[in-house]
C-alpha cells in the first residue's frame, strides 16, 4: 500500500453503492457494513484503491453494497482471488468478506495458506455458526449437537475455532469482535486495515433467521461482563462487572481467579502481549471460548511484523532485475544453444 494520504473529504456515504441492501431485517451483517463504511475514510487510502472480494453466502453479498471495486466470486475462493489480485497489484487495499461455511469449510485450504503466506489481505469472517444462504444447515463452527435441517438428531461434528485456526496457521494479525459492539467492531476494523500482512478478524455475527441468539450471552447487558474479556495490549486479563476477576495460567490451562479471595492479586494474572512472536500464548486463550466456565476473549490476539508475501515477490523481482538487467525478449529468444542455417 502506498503511504497514507489525506482522505478526510471521504465520507461513509461515499462507500455506499446504489444497490438495495437485501439482508434480512435485524441481520448482524448490517452493522459490519456500516462500520466498514465508517472506518474506510479513516484509513488514508484513496477510494479507488480499495477492492472488496467475496465468495458465496449471505455475508459474501457484501461487495455489491460497497461503492468500491469489488468481486462476488465463487464459494470459498475469495482468499485465493484476493491473493492473486494483491500479488499482481500490491498498491491496492484488498478486503475479503466471508462466512463460516465459505472460509472454514469449502475455502479452508485457501484460508490457511493465505495466513501462512502472510499476504497483505484483510479477511473478515462473519461467523454466524450456520449456513445462512442455503437456509440453515449446521456449519464447521456450529456447536456439537446442533439441530438443523441437515442434522435433525443433532450434529455429530466437532467445531473449528476460527481464531485458533488462524493463529495455528501463523496469521500475523488475529482479532475477534462482536457485531453488536459497534465501537469495538470499528476499532478492530481499523486495526485490521492498518496492519500489513494477513489480517484475520472474526466477527461473531447473529443470523436472526437460522441461528438467532447464538451470541446473546456475549452481547446481553446482563451477562456480557461475565462472559466477555477484552484483550488490551500490555494489560492483565481482567473481567467482571467490577473488573475483579482475572485469568491465570495453570500449566497450559487458563483458569479464572477471584481477586477478592485474599489469595490472588493482579500480579498473578496473565498479561496480554499481542506482539509476542510465538502464537502459543494467544492460542491458549483463543480456546477459552470453548469452555463455558471461562469468559470469551475479544480484541487483538496477535499482531506481529513479518515481511509480506507481496513485498517479498516485489523484492525478489527487483533483486533479479538488478542482477540480470531488465529482461529483453529478443535476447531471450536467441539465448541458449543456437545454430545458423545458411
Amino acid at each position: 500500500m502506498t503511504n497514507k494520504i489525506d482522505t478526510t473529504e471521504l465520507k461513509p456515504k461515499d462507500f455506499q453503492s446504489d444497490q438495495d441492501v437485501r439482508w434480512c431485517p435485524g441481520c448482524g451483517d448490517y452493522s459490519v457494513l456500516s462500520s466498514v463504511q465508517k472506518v474506510f475514510p479513516k484509513l488514508g487510502i484513496k477510494k479507488e484503491d480499495f477492492v472488496w472480494i467475496a465468495g458465496i453466502g449471505c455475508s459474501s453479498r457484501f461487495p455489491y453494497y460497497m461503492d468500491t471495486y469489488g468481486m462476488h466470486g465463487i464459494h470459498g475462493r475469495a482468499p485465493a482471488i484476493a491473493t492473486g489480485l494483491k500479488v499482481a497489484r500490491p498498491d491496492l487495499s484488498v478486503w475479503v468478506s466471508t462466512g463460516d461455511g465459505d472460509l472454514m469449510s469449502i475455502g479452508g485450504n485457501h484460508f490457511i495458506h493465505a495466513c501462512r503466506k502472510n499476504i497483505d489481505l484483510k479477511l473478515i469472517l462473519f461467523n454466524n455458526q450456520i449456513y445462512g444462504l442455503t437456509k440453515g444447515q449446521y456449519s464447521p463452527t456450529s456447536e456439537k449437537g446442533k439441530v438443523t435441517k441437515s442434522s435433525p438428531y443433532g450434529s455429530v461434528d466437532y467445531p473449528f475455532n476460527p481464531t485458533s485456526l488462524a493463529l495455528g496457521a501463523e496469521a500475523t494479525f488475529v482479532a475477534r469482535t462482536l457485531d453488536r459492539d459497534v465501537k469495538h467492531l470499528q476499532e478492530m476494523l481499523l486495526r485490521a486495515g492498518e496492519h500489513k500482512g494477513t489480517a484475520f478478524l472474526e466477527v461473531y455475527q447473529n443470523c436472526v433467521i437460522f441461528n438467532d441468539g447464538a451470541y446473546t450471552d456475549y452481547t446481553d447487558k446482563e451477562t456480557k461482563a461475565e462472559t466477555i474479556i477484552k484483550l488490551e495490549q500490555g494489560e492483565p486479563l481482567l473481567f467482571g462487572k467490577n473488573f475483579d476477576k482475572g485469568i491465570k495460567i495453570d500449566g497450559f490451562n487458563p483458569v479464572v481467579v477471584d481477586l477478592n479471595d485474599g489469595v490472588h492479586s493482579i500480579e498473578d494474572l496473565l498479561v496480554h502481549d499481542e506482539h509476542d512472536e510465538s502464537p502459543v500464548r494467544s492460542f491458549i486463550y483463543s480456546h477459552m471460548t470453548d469452555h463455558p466456565e471461562l469468559p470469551t476473549p475479544i480484541g487483538v490476539f496477535r499482531q506481529i511484523k513479518r515481511e509480506t508475501y507481496d513485498e517479498a515477490v516485489t523484492r525478489q523481482i527487483e533483486a533479479v532485475t538488478d542482477k540480470k538487467g531488465e529482461g529483453d525478449l529478443e535476447s531471450l529468444l536467441f539465448s541458449g544453444n543456437t545454430w545458423e542455417v545458411e
Partner: protein, 618 residues
C-alpha cells in the same frame, strides 16, 4: 546409398534414422538423448524427439517398469515425428532391451551394455536365458559392449567415487553413438564444461567416458561401417532446439511484451505441465510473477484476481487440474475477464498415465462446465507451435475479454524440434485498452466485438462490482430478468463466434478437393504429415489439414470439409474432434483412434488412408 571411406571404415549415407536410448530411470537416458539431439540439430539435421519415462522418479533398478527411454528421429526430409520404430536401440540393461526390442525394425542395430546382463538383472527383466548368448536376437545386428567396465577403466584417474564413475557410463554410450553417426564431440564437451564449472573431477569423468566411447568405435573391429545422415534443407535463419513447454513459457512472455501487460501465472505442479511453471519462474527480470498456489483452484482463482487487477493472467495445468478449474473457468467467463488456461494433456481419466500423451481433454475443454459456458479453445500442433499459440491464446483472451483454453499435450510439451527463431519485430503488438474515462462508463457496455470494457482497480471513478451472479447487459447490475439471461447467454456465445473474424482460415496441404482429406488437431500434426507424405510417395492422392482453432473453428472449415468424398480424423482419443465435426457440419467423418499414450504411428495412418482409398493408388 553413397559410400565414403573414413579411417578405413565405410560410411553409409542415410536419409533419416530413429534411435532409442533406453536404461534405468537413474541411468541418465533423458540427458543422453537430449545431448545427442542437440548435436544432430547443430549439424543441420531436422529432428523430432520423444522422451518416454516412468512416473516413478527412481523406480527400482533393473525392473521392466523402471525403464526410461528417449527416442529421436533425425534426418534430411520428412522428419515430423519421433519415428514409428527405431533403427538403433541403445540398451543399458536387460530390462531396457526387453521393453524396447519389440519396437525395433527388423535387422535393426542393438548396442547393449553387456556388463549389465548378469543373473540378477536378467531375472528382474524376466529373461530365462541371456538374450546376448541364446539365438533370440538373431534378427538384429547385435553389438554387446562391456560399457560399465570400459568406463571404470577409463575414469580411474579422475578422482571420482565408484558410484560416480559408473554413473558416467551413459556418456560412454553417447560417445560411441557419436562415432557411429559420424558426429563431433565438441558440442557435448562444451556443455559439460559449462554445466560442471569448478567440478574438475566430474568434467574429467564425463570427458573421458565420452571420448572412450568414441575411440572404442574407432579402434575395435566390432562395427563394419558407420553412418552419415544428410543435412535437412531448412529455411535460412538462426535455430535452436525447443520443447513445447519451454516454447509455451516464452510465448507467454512474448504476449506480455506485445500487450505491454505484466504477466501473472497462478499454478499448481502437475505432470506434464510443471515445466511451464519452472520456466516462467526463472524470468523474474521480465517482471513475471509466478504464484505456486495451494491447489489448482487457487491457481486459476488467483489468476482471475490478477486479471481483475489488469495483468495478462495465466494458469497452467493438466487434465485432472483442468477438472478442478471447472467452476472458476465459468466464473472468468461470467466476469468477462481475459484469462489463458494452458492444459498440457496426458493420459486420463483420473491420474491415468501422467507421463504419457493423449488428446482426450478436448471435450472437457469445450463443454466441461456448468451452464451454457462457451470458452475459446485453441491447440498447438508441435513443440515450436506452442510459442505461437501461447501468443494467439493471449491475444484472443485480451481482445474478446474471455477465458481461452490452450491445449497442448505431453508429447509436444516434452518433445523437441529445431525452431527457426523469429525476431520480435515479426510480431504485431496487441491493441489493449484499459478504460480510464469515467464519462458514461458502464461495466458491461459492448464494443464492436461485444467485449466489455476492462476497468482496473486504482482507476478513479470506475468503481464497479463484478460477480458470478448473472449481470444485466450494459449496466452490470445483478439481474434475474429472464430476457436478460437469454440475451447474456447468447452474447457470451456470440463473442466466441466473433473470433472467427480474427483467426486465419484453415489451410489445406494438397488439393483443395478430392477423395480423401485427413484432418487432425493439435499435436498429431507430425504423425499425420509424415503419414500423408508416405501415402503420396506410394502414389495415393490425399490432402491434409490440421486445426489450431477449435472454438471457434476457422470460418472456411465447413467449406473445406464439403469438398472431399471422405474425411479421415485421426486422434489420440476415442473420437472427440470427430464428434464435434459431425455435430457442427453433419459430415460422416471416418475416425481413426488410438489410446496408447503414445504419438500416433505414421504407418497406421497411411494404412488407413490406403484402406479408405480402397487400396487403389489412383
Amino acid at each position: 546409398m553413397a559410400q565414403e571411406e573414413k579411417n578405413g571404415k565405410p560410411i553409409e549415407q542415410l536419409n533419416d534414422v530413429t534411435v532409442m536410448f533406453a536404461g534405468d530411470s537413474g541411468d541418465g537416458m533423458q540427458l543422453t538423448g537430449t545431448q545427442f539431439s542437440d548435436t544432430t540439430a547443430f549439424l543441420g539435421n531436422d529432428l523430432s524427439t520423444l522422451p518416454d519415462y516412468p512416473s516413478e522418479i527412481r523406480a527400482p533398478l533393473g525392473t521392466l517398469y523402471g525403464v526410461s527411454g528417449f527416442q529421436l528421429h533425425f534426418g534430411a526430409t520428412n522428419v515430423h515425428t519421433p519415428g514409428d520404430n527405431p533403427d538403433v536401440l541403445v540398451a543399458m540393461n536387460p530390462a531396457a532391451l526387453k521393453v524396447n526390442v519389440k519396437n525395433l525394425k527388423p535387422r535393426g542395430i542393438i548396442i547393449c551394455n553387456s556388463d549389465a546382463f548378469d543373473a540378477k538383472n536378467l531375472k528382474l527383466a524376466k529373461y530365462e536365458s541371456n538374450p546376448l548368448e541364446d539365438d533370440s536376437l538373431s534378427g538384429y545386428k547385435l553389438f554387446p559392449v562391456p560399457i560399465t567396465s570400459l568406463t571404470v577403466a577409463a575414469l580411474k584417474d579422475c578422482g571420482l567415487k565408484p558410484k560416480e564413475v559408473t554413473r558416467s557410463k551413459n556418456f560412454f554410450a553417447l560417445g560411441l553413438m557419436y562415432w557411429l553417426f559420424n558426429e563431433p564431440l565438441e558440442p557435448t564437451l562444451e556443455w559439460v564444461k559449462t554445466k560442471f564449472k569448478n567440478k574438475e573431477s566430474v568434467i574429467c569423468g564425463n570427458e573421458k567416458a565420452l571420448k572412450s566411447g568414441y575411440y572404442y568405435g574407432e579402434n575395435t573391429q566390432l562395427f563394419a561401417s558407420r553412418y552419415k545422415i544428410a543435412k535437412a534443407k531448412l529455411p535460412k535463419g538462426t535455430y535452436k532446439s525447443i520443447s513445447g513447454n519451454e516454447a509455451t513459457a516464452i510465448g507467454l512472455i512474448a504476449a506480455s511484451k506485445l500487450s505491454k501487460l505484466p504477466l501473472f501465472l497462478g499454478s499448481y505442479p502437475i505432470t506434464p505441465a510443471t515445466d511451464i511453471l519452472h520456466h516462467l519462474s526463472k524470468y523474474k527480470n521480465f517482471g513475471v510473477k509466478t504464484l505456486q498456489a495451494e491447489d489448482e483452484i487457487a491457481g486459476i482463482t488467483s489468476a482471475i484476481g490478477a486479471s481483475f487487477g489488469g495483468s495478462l493472467a495465466i494458469t497452467t495445468t493438466s487434465g485432472p487440474g483442468l477438472a478442478l478449474k471447472t467452476e472458476a473457468t465459468g466464473l472468468a467467463l461470467m466476469l468477462e475477464l481475459p484469462l489463458v488456461i494452458v492444459n498440457v494433456q496426458r493420459g486420463g481419466p483420473s491420474t491415468g498415465l501422467p507421463t504419457k500423451t493423449e488428446q482426450s481433454d478436448l471435450l472437457q475443454a469445450m463443454y466441461g462446465r456448468s451452464g451454457e459456458s462457451p470458452v475459446a479453445v485453441v491447440a498447438a500442433t508441435s513443440p515450436s507451435d506452442c510459442f505461437y499459440m501461447a501468443i494467439e491464446a493471449s491475444r484472443l483472451a485480451l481482445k474478446y475479454m474471455v477465458p481461452v483454453i490452450l491445449l497442448t499435450d505431453g508429447y509436444i510439451a516434452n518433445g523437441a524440434e529445431p525452431w527457426r527463431i523469429p525476431h520480435v519485430n515479426e510480431f504485431k503488438e496487441f491493441e489493449v485498452t484499459q478504460r480510464t474515462d469515467s464519462e458514461g462508463f458502464q461495466p458491461y457496455d459492448r464494443d464492436e466485438n461485444l467485449a466489455r470494457p476492462w476497468a482496473i482497480p486504482g482507476t478513479p471513478g470506475l468503481e464497479h462490482r463484478l460477480g458470478g451472479l448473472e449481470k444485466a447487459n450494459i449496466t452490470g447490475a445483478v439481474s434475474h430478468d429472464p430476457e436478460n439471461h437469454h440475451l447474456m447467454t447468447e452474447i457470451r456465445a456470440q463473442k466466441i463466434e466473433n473470433m472467427q473474424n480474427s483467426i486465419p482460415d484453415l489451410e489445406v496441404d494438397g488439393d483443395s478437393e478430392g477423395k480423401v482429406l485427413v484432418i487432425g488437431w493439435g499435436g498429431t500434426k507430425g504423425s499425420i504429415t509424415e503419414a500423408v507424405n508416405d501415402a503420396r510417395k506410394k502414389g495415393m492422392k490425399v490432402s491434409r489439414a490440421q486445426l489450431q482453432y477449435i472454438n471457434p473453428f476457422p470460418k472456411n472449415l465447413g467449406d473445406v470439409l464439403s469438398k472431399f468424398d471422405n474425411v479421415i480424423v485421426p486422434e489420440n482419443n476415442m473420437g472427440q474432434l470427430a464428434k464435434i465435426l459431425r455435430d457442427k457440419f453433419l459430415v460422416p467423418v471416418i475416425q481413426f483412434n488410438k489410446m496408447r499414450g503414445l504419438p500416433l504411428k505414421t504407418f497406421e495412418i497411411t494404412e488407413k488412408i490406403a484402406e479408405v482409398l480402397g487400396g487403389k493408388n489412383d
